[in-house]
C-alpha cells in the first residue's frame, strides 16, 4: 500500500469522529495538527473529490446556514478501514523510531 499524503490522512481523521462540513474540516485539521496544517479550500475540495471518487467518503447531508450551503461528509466503511490501517502503520513506524532512539541513548521522552 502506498503511504497516504498527510493532508489526506488529516482529512480522514477529522471525519473519523462523525460527519463534518468543509469549513469544519479545515478548522479541525488545523487543531489536530497543532496549527501546522492549514488547508486551503481549493486543495480541500480537490482532496474531497478524489476521496469521494475512491469511495472512501460520501456526502452525508446538507444544511443551509445564513443562506449558505453546507454539505457534510462522512467516512465509508472502506474509508474507516483505510484510515485505521494507515494509523496503525504510522504508529508502528513511530514506535520503532522511539525504541531505537532509546537504545541509542537518545532522548525519546
Amino acid at each position: 500500500m502506498r503511504a497516504m499524503q498527510e493532508a489526506t490522512f488529516l482529512i480522514l481523521t477529522s471525519l473519523a469522529s462523525g460527519a463534518q462540513h468543509g469549513y469544519g474540516i479545515i478548522t479541525d485539521v488545523q487543531d489536530i495538527s497543532g496549527g501546522r496544517v492549514r488547508l486551503r479550500p481549493g486543495t480541500l475540495y480537490t482532496a474531497l473529490d478524489r476521496l469521494r471518487a475512491d469511495e472512501l467518503i460520501v456526502p452525508d447531508r446538507e444544511e443551509v446556514v445564513d443562506g449558505r450551503l453546507r454539505r457534510y461528509y462522512r467516512l465509508t466503511p472502506a474509508g474507516t478501514k483505510l484510515l485505521a490501517a494507515e494509523a496503525a502503520r504510522l504508529q508502528a513506524h513511530a514506535a520503532a523510531a522511539l525504541r531505537r532512539l532509546d537504545l541509542a541513548g537518545g532522548t525519546a521522552t
Binding site: 469549513y23 471518487a53 449558505r68 453546507r70 454539505r71
Partner: protein, 278 residues
C-alpha cells in the same frame, strides 16, 4: 457594494477555472467555505488563495478522473499516457537530429548557402513538429476521454490501434513525408540528409539515413515497438469485464447529469417567465 459581496464576486470569478459539472455541484459549498475562511473586511481574494483555486480548478479539468476502484481502466490510461510519452520521445529525438544535421554541415564546411540552411531548419522543424505532434495529441486525447469513461473513446482507441498495427505491419502504406529533399537535389555536395517520416495515426516513424545505426533503430524500431506494446496492453485492459463495468456506470452517470441539467434549465426558464404572467 459591501465588502462581502465584493469578495464573493471575486471568488465566483475564480471558480470559473473549475469544470462546469464540478462547479454546478460544489460551487455554492466552496463559496461558503471561502467566505467563512476570509477575515472580516477582506475585499478581494488573496494571491495565495487565488493561485490555489486556479491550480485546483485546472487540475480538475486536466486530470483523468478514474476512481481507484476501476483498476484496469487506471492501468490502461497510464499505458496510454506512456504511449504519448513514447511519441513525444521520437519527436524530441528527431528535433535533436535536425539540429545535429545543421551543426554537421557547419563543421564539415559544406557550402550550404544561408537560404538553404534556414530552409532546412524552419520548414523541416515545422513539418516534423506537425507530423510528430499529431500522434502525441491523439494519445493524450484518448487518455483523457477513456479516463472519463466515454465508451466511444474505447471503441475509437481500438480502431486507431488496429490501423496503427496494420501500418506497422506494412499492410496499409502510411502517408510519408519527405523532408529536406529539395536541399539535396539542389546541392550535390550535401550528403543525403533526407528525413522520411511515416505517419500512422498513433506512431510516427522518422527514418534518417546516414546518421549511424543508433538513431534510425531508435526512431524506426524501438520507439514504435514500445508504443505498440503500450497500445496493445491498453486495448486489452480496456475490454476486460471490469473495465466494461466502469464504462457502463460512467455512461449512466453522464445520462443522469444531462437529465439533471435539462431539468434545471427548464425550472430556470419557467421562473423567468413567471413575473410576466402575474
Amino acid at each position: 457594494m459591501t465588502d462581502q459581496a465584493h469578495l464573493e464576486r471575486g471568488y465566483r470569478r475564480l471558480l470559473a477555472w473549475y469544470p462546469r459539472a464540478f462547479r454546478d455541484e460544489h460551487g455554492p459549498e466552496i463559496l461558503a467555505v471561502l467566505l467563512a475562511c476570509a477575515p472580516d473586511g477582506q475585499r478581494r481574494p488573496g494571491l495565495a488563495e487565488s493561485a490555489d483555486l486556479i491550480r485546483s480548478g485546472l487540475w480538475m479539468r486536466l486530470r483523468p478522473s478514474v476512481p481507484r476502484s476501476a483498476r484496469t481502466v487506471r492501468a490502461a490510461v497510464q499505458l496510454i499516457c506512456a504511449g504519448a510519452a513514447a511519441s513525444a520521445a521520437s519527436l524530441i529525438i528527431v528535433l535533436a537530429v535536425i539540429v545535429d544535421i545543421r551543426v554537421r554541415h557547419a563543421v564539415l564546411g559544406h557550402r550550404l548557402i544561408a537560404a538553404q540552411v534556414s530552409q532546412v531548419t524552419t520548414s523541416v522543424i515545422v513539418q516534423v513538429l506537425v507530423s510528430c505532434l499529431v500522434p502525441v495529441a491523439v494519445w493524450l486525447w484518448m487518455a483523457r476521454a477513456n479516463g472519463r469513461g466515454r465508451n466511444w473513446a474505447r471503441i475509437l482507441f481500438t480502431v486507431l490501434f488496429g490501423l496503427t498495427t496494420l501500418t506497422l505491419a506494412g499492410v496499409v502504406p502510411p502517408p510519408v513525408i519527405n523532408i529536406a529533399s529539395s536541399v539535396v537535389a539542389s546541392n550535390s555536395i550535401v550528403p543525403p540528409s533526407v528525413i522520411t517520416i511515416s505517419v500512422g495515426p498513433m506512431v510516427s516513424m522518422p527514418s534518417i539515413p546516414g546518421l549511424g545505426p543508433v538513431i534510425p533503430v531508435l526512431t524506426g524500431l524501438v520507439v514504435p515497438a514500445l508504443t505498440w506494446l503500450a497500445g496493445a496492453a491498453a486495448v486489452g485492459l480496456l475490454w476486460l469485464p471490469a473495465s466494461s463495468a466502469f464504462f457502463r456506470s460512467q455512461g449512466s452517470l453522464q445520462a443522469r447529469r444531462r437529465a439533471q441539467r435539462a431539468e434545471l434549465e427548464r425550472i430556470r426558464s419557467s421562473r423567468a417567465r413567471w413575473p410576466r404572467q402575474v
